[in-house]
């Protein structure tokens, strides 16, 4: 669920921040509004809003257009993923914006002067540098999203934390259960942190040189 939310959030965040940087009319304002709203809402509130709001939205949709979305069978996990994606996407959008703006304007000009298209310049010059800037912040956001999955229990999703809670209710071994949960989160955190720091070292090679 973490990975799905972060991947989808990355796509959403990237689109949102490119729309803002390229200043597409209307879309740009929409994306600003989205970032503003989703960043200022607590994660749990956002989850509840999506959980209770989606069915209402789908109902309204089928009332007006006759298109029926079978939302009754949509699993809560899906709703949770949508909520986390919205939340993560908003944060990542800001991270990506800062990262893209960290690439010196002169290098973009140089690539345009060579005759590169906007996309070529983005792919060859901007993205490789921006990703090094964004990676530590991205890792932060990834871990934070991973931990936020524990509140998805409020909308009936049984994830790690939820499972522990259920176990406790049956066996009353609260401390033991939560210790196990903490260790599992800790383990996952360490693994991902290691992966991110390796990746950062590889991508950031040009900052130190290789000779």
């Amino acid at each position: 669920m973490t990975i799905i939310s972060v991947v989808m959030g990355t796509i959403l965040g990237l689109i949102s921040c490119i729309v803002q940087i390229k200043r597409f009319p209307v879309l740009c304002q929409l994306s600003r509004l989205y970032v503003l709203v989703c960043r200022s809402l607590p994660n749990m509130v956002l989850l509840y809003l999506v959980y209770y709001g989606l069915p209402i939205a789908f109902l309204a949709l089928s009332d007006h257009t006759g298109i029926h979305v079978p939302f009754e069978v949509v699993p809560a996990v899906f709703v949770a993923a949508v909520g986390l994606t919205l939340h993560t996407g908003a944060y990542l959008s800001e991270i990506f914006r800062a990262a893209l703006q960290s690439v010196p304007e002169g290098q973009i000009e140089a690539s345009r002067a060579l005759g590169m298209t906007w996309f070529q310049a983005f792919r060859r010059v901007v993205l490789p540098q921006a990703s090094v800037f964004a990676l530590p912040l991205f890792a932060n956001q990834f871990l934070s999203t991973m931990k936020s999955t524990s509140i998805c229990f409020v909308i009936t999703v049984v994830e790690l934390f939820g499972a522990a809670k259920l176990y406790c209710e049956d066996n009353s071994q609260y401390f033991e259960a939560y210790i196990v949960v903490a260790c599992l989160y800790w383990g996952m955190g360490i693994i991902f942190e290691y992966m991110f720091s390796r990746l950062e070292a590889v991508l950031g090679k040009y900052k130190r040189g290789n000779v």
């Binding site: 010196p104 002169g106 290098q107 000009e109 140089a110 690539s111 345009r112 002067a113 060579l114 005759g115 590169m116 298209t117 070529q120 060859r124 010059v125 490789p128 540098q129 040009y206 900052k207 130190r208 040189g209 290789n210 000779v211």
Partner: protein
Amino acid sequence: MIKIENVRKSFGGKEVLKNISMTVPTGTVTVILGPSGSGKTTFLRTLNFLGRADSGTITFNDNSVDLHNASPKEIIQVRRSTAMVFQMYNLFSNMTALGNVMEGLVTIRKKKKREARDIAMKCLYEVGMETYSDYYPVQLSGGQQQRVGIARALAMNPQIILFDEPTSALDPELVGEVLAVIRKIARELKVTMIIVTHEIAFAKEIADQVVFMEGGNVIEKGTAEDVLIHPHELRTQQFLTRYLAISGSSDSGREK
């Protein structure tokens, strides 16, 4: 031959380029001189659409492009037949020296990596940077970075190279090596160029044509000897006198 006609541009109601025209014959060097704020850099940047002129045309051989209303396709086409060397070098910091020079060949010219590498190494050799091909820009001095910048421009085999104050950001000690490279490619490779610079002694030595600009106007235009040694216009004379008074001695020292 490259012909540039009637370039005008305003920033917020202030006219910074007032009808600039010049012709640059193939294989010659045109140097643009003038005080700061005279529009030299702005003019240069309109030629490859890094800045948009309000009007004007640029003509390569018989192919004219409107500097104001060019289509995106025409803009790319002009950019691919010109190259620019920047005041701040603007090397791609995520690529090695070799990578910087290869980049245009691979991404734009769609050449095979091997072929691009051969051309790029040849260009690095021209600027004396072949032994630094694996260095990243952070590991190079300003002068070395600028030489790589020149190699990057050379590699595209452009019809003209635009130099935007190529030595202004350098330590005085490093100016010489960059000027030497420019001198060499002008003489040996007969590359057509427009150079915006403050190095008057260098201009005197290398320019086939000198253009003196001030306040968005071309004040005087002619051979280096005409403009720099026997200037007709009072403004040119004043500029040269003041310039020589400030930096005459140190400037001649760089020409060794």
